[in-house]
Structures are given as C-alpha cells and as structure tokens.
C-alpha cells in the first residue's frame, strides 16, 4: 500500500524534474554534479540484489554546498561513492560537469574526506597534505601546503605524525589534503562523524569558514541535521530501503554564517522541521517492515 503511494509521489516528482534535465545536453553545463535516474543494486546471494538507491535525480550547482541527510542505510554514502567513481551505477548516469567521475578523478579533480581520516601513518602531517601532488606527479607546492595547514590551524603540527594528533586535528588534516589540488568538487562523507559533539560543532564552524573562502562545489554526507543546516545551501533528505530522495530543502541563511546562527530560533526551526521529516521517513520504514 505505502509502496504505491510513494511510487505515485515519486512519479509526480519525476514529472517535474526531467523538465530541467532534458535540454541540458545543448545548454552549457553549469552543474558540478548531476545524477540522473540512478539505480544502484548490490548483489546478495544468487540472483538476489539489495537496492541501495532507487531512481535518484540530484544536482549540485557549481559553487553550491549540498548536504545529503538521512538515516543509516539510506544510500547517502553510496551516492558519494558513485560521485567519486568508487562505484558504478546499475543504471542511470552520474556526471561531474561534462565528464564521468573516473575521468575527473584521473585529472585529480576530486577532493575527498571520509569519516576515517585515512592519513598515512608513516608520513608527517605536511607530507600527508602533499600526497595529492605526489599522486598527480606534480612538484609539491610547499607554499600551498603551508597555506592549507594554516587554514586548518595545523601549522605547528606540520612535522607531527598523525598518531600524535587528536581526532579533530586528523580530520582537519584530511580536509586540507582534500583541498590540496583545488578540486572541482569536494566530497565529504561524515568527516566529523566520529568526533565528540563539541569538537564537531567547532569543526563545522571552521569548515564553513574554509568553504566561504573559495566556494568549492561540495557534497556533504551526514546524519546530523544541525551540521547539514548550518553548512549547506540545500539539504537533501533521504529515506532508506530503498534509498530515495524524499525532500530537498533550500537553506537561505545569509553567508558567511556565524556561530551565533546555531543559537537562533530560525535555525532551530529549520532543524526541527528537517528532523521531523527524517522521523516521518523512518516511520514509513517501520510500517513497511511491519
């Protein structure tokens, strides 16, 4: 029953969405990322498959910050992995500008940071931030590295090893590494997910400041509503089983956003509404399972 209702709603959305999508081939591309009718199945046992994403349409404009918000298992990380070229869609297309993700990755156009910082334990913080230069076989731009370390407040720790840093500092180093080659798009998968609430909030404020500097197109995957609302231009609310886009909410708080925003009633209002939207989707889940 609920399935048909959702299908109906999605078909209505489908009717509206492609109107923007179709003439795109002729017009100059202004999107940093475009997912068109993307389905992703993961094979389970013989013949069976788990549908992680069901007909996802999603765009990120150049210079836009979009947050994917949803319960665990809604496929938001899968969307990010598709955008990073780490997975291929079962059907549909994923384009970064005019190119496929793997092509963009090969020209070092992606910046990624994950929940697990993935710094190289044997290299210093500075050497870790310089890794993208080495991968690109370019001469390491030491000024750029120093600049990034300053941006994330790790100048004093340039020669420290990752294990000497706190969790928050490791994540900052990981974000500095993602920014090293001025990526066309920044993909952040729960970068602060493993941090305590206070550190997380502080890093959100820092990330907002870093982002305000050059407005790199960004996709942030998160399950923290506050984080999504504070950082993003648009918040995409997803539901699970299978992963679908439920709602896209434009967040029009003025930029640069100040920490005071976190205390304002308007902010809390939006957070509450999106939390409710998330909750509703989990309720649909419960009904489906029941």
């Amino acid at each position: 029953m609920t399935d048909t209702v959702i299908t109906d709603i999605l078909q209505t959305i489908d009717l509206i969405e492609p109107a923007v999508g179709v003439p795109e081939a002729v017009a100059p591309v202004t999107d940093a990322l475009r997912l068109t009718n993307v389905v992703k199945d993961f094979p389970l046992r013989r013949g069976e498959a788990f549908r992680a994403l069901d007909r996802i349409d999603l765009t990120i404009a150049k210079g836009e910050f979009v947050a994917l918000l949803g319960p665990s298992g809604c496929g938001k990380s899968t969307i990010l992995r598709l955008a990073a070229g780490l997975e291929q869609p079962t059907s549909g297309t994923v384009m970064l500008g005019n190119d496929e993700p793997v092509t963009v990755a090969r020209r070092q156009g992606l910046g990624v940071a994950f929940q697990d910082h993935a710094l190289l334990p044997w290299a210093t913080v500075a050497a870790n931030v310089a890794v993208p230069f080495k991968v690109a076989r370019r001469r390491v731009d030491h000024d750029r590295v120093a600049d990034l370390l300053e941006l994330v407040g790790l100048t004093e720790f340039a020669n420290a090893r990752p294990r000497q840093l706190s969790g928050g500092m490791k994540q900052r180093a990981s974000i500095a590494r993602a920014l090293a080659l001025e990526p066309e798009i920044l993909l952040l998968d729960e970068p602060f997910g493993a941090l305590d609430a206070v550190t997380r909030r502080r890093l959100n404020i820092e990330l907002q400041n870093i982002w305000a500097r050059d407005h790199v197109s960004t996709m942030l995957v998160t399950h923290a509503v506050e984080e999504a609302v504070f950082l993003a231009d648009r918040v995409v609310v997803m539901s699970a089983k299978p992963g679908r886009v439920e709602e896209i909410r434009t967040i029009d708080f003025e930029r640069p956003r100040r920490p005071e925003l976190l205390q304002s009633p308007e902010f809390h209002h939006v957070v509450d509404e999106l939390t409710a939207a998330l909750d509703e989707n989990s309720y649909v889940d419960a009904v489906e399972l029941g």
Binding site: R81, A84, G85, L86, A105, R106, R107, Q108, L110, V112, F114, D116, A118, L120, P121, W122, V131, P132, K134, V135, A136, R137, R163, L187
Partner: protein
C-alpha cells in the same frame, strides 16, 4: 608511563628467557654427566670446551664462514626474488593467482629432493646458497604478498578518488604499508636460510657446518657433532634476533 611499562615488560621477558636457557643448560649438563641420556649425549660444558679449544679454531672458523656466506647469498637472492614476485603480483592482479600457485608448488617440493638436482645443475659450491635461497623465498613471498594487500579500504578509496595509477599507489601506499610484514618475513627467512645452507652442504659442498655435521656423524665424533649443531643454532638465532630488531624498528617507523 607506557614506554616505561613496555621496557619493564621487556626486561621481565628477557629475564625469563635467560632463566629458561640456564635451566635448559643445567638439565643438559646434569643429563650428560650422569650418563642417563646415553653415550651420545655429552654434558654441555664438554661441548663448549671442545668448541673454544684453540687448536680447532680454524676448523670451526672456516666452516662457519662458508655456511655464513652461503646463507647470506641465498637469503639475499631468495628474499629479493620473493619481494620482486610479490610486487609483480600486486601490480598485475591477473598474474597474482598464477604466482601464488607457482610459489605454493615450489614450496611443496621437499628441499632435500632438490639437493642432487642443484649439484648437477649448479656446482658443489653453489648448492648451499641455492637451497638457502629456496628456504628463504617462501616466507618472504607470503609476507610481502600479504603486506601489499594489507591496505585499509579508506586508504584505497582516497587513492582511487585521487586518480592514483597502480604504480603510484604501490609506491606511496602499498610498499610502506607492507614494510612491517616484509620485515617479519625476513625474520623468519633468516634462520631458514642458515638451515637451508647447512642442508645444501650435506650434498657435498667443500666446507661448512653441514660438512662438519656429516663427517662427525660418519666418524662418530659425538662432541664435534654437538658443537656443530650448537654453532648452527647460534647463527640461526642471531639472525632471527637481528631481524627481529629490524622489524621492531620498521614497525615503529611505519605505524
């Protein structure tokens, strides 16, 4: 705090090791002196006395240096080829399964069966090093292959998203990641190379500890047999200990 704790633990474990060794030697001494273990079991003091006797010094020196040189040559060749093949397997996934199977088959052939073959193919001088290299090859191959695979998923993801080529990934990620594992393999390979060299000498090398052992057996020189065995064990254990230190150093650098 923790550093002190670990050095304390190390001191305790060293103390246990020394105590164990002393107890072992005491039992050996008592067993030999009482004659309970038979005529072929001389007390350890007699063996050591035999070993350090100045008149036999050149005999043992020549044997040890011959075995040592063969073991080192074999170790270098075996470990080098092992790391090379494992790297090829890591760079060319298509070759990996075949390489693994090839290595397993080589390892399945008893080294003792290869001795006569090497005598024919190589020479009497070359056989100990050849068998030593085979003995060292297997642990190093297994450890290197596992080491190159031992990267975390997010590390691989980061390198993929950065568009890293296989060679760059190998150089920046897999090799540093594999170093502790390779050092561990070398630690196991070092005594294996010593034993391989001794085994190779049995087939008729001109000199070496293996020859000493064979001739002592044939001439019923019990004390000399034990002295040779003790020497072989001492060399093996020193090699093991030396590479254990290398491994600890590498782990400290990489992790």
């Amino acid at each position: 705090m923790t550093a002190a704790a670990t050095s304390n633990e190390r001191a305790v474990s060293t103390a246990y090791g020394v105590a164990g060794l002393l107890a072992f030697m005491a039992i050996w001494e008592a067993g030999g002196r009482s004659g309970l273990l038979g005529a072929s079991f001389p007390p350890i003091s007699e063996v050591i006395e035999y070993l350090i006797d100045p008149t036999r010094r050149s005999l043992f020196e020549r044997a040890v240096s011959a075995t040592f040189v063969s073991a080192v040559r074999g170790f270098l060749i075996g470990a080098g080829v092992a790391v090379l093949l494992a790297s090829i397997g890591a760079l060319l996934p298509a070759a990996r399964d075949g390489l693994d199977r090839f290595v397993a088959s080589v390892h399945a052939v008893p080294l003792i069966a290869l001795g006569p073959l090497f005598i024919v193919l190589l020479s009497r001088d070359g056989t100990p090093a050849a068998i030593a290299s085979l003995a060292a090859f297997f642990p190093v191959y297994v450890a290197s292959a596992a080491g190159f695979d031992d990267t975390s998923r997010t590390h691989r993801d980061v390198f993929s998203a950065l568009g890293a080529s296989r060679r760059i990934r190998m150089r920046l990620l897999q090799i540093p990641c594999a170093l502790p594992s390779i050092a561990d393999g070398l630690r196991l390979a070092a005594p294996a190379a010593v034993l391989g060299a001794i085994l190779g000498e049995w087939f008729g090398a001109p000199r070496g500890i293996g020859i000493l052992i064979v001739s002592s057996m044939q001439n019923f020189q019990i004390t000399q047999l034990w002295a040779s065995a003790l020497l072989a064990a001492a060399i093996s254990l020193s090699a093991f200990g030396l590479f254990g230190m290398l491994e600890r150093f590498v782990v400290g650098r990489v992790r």
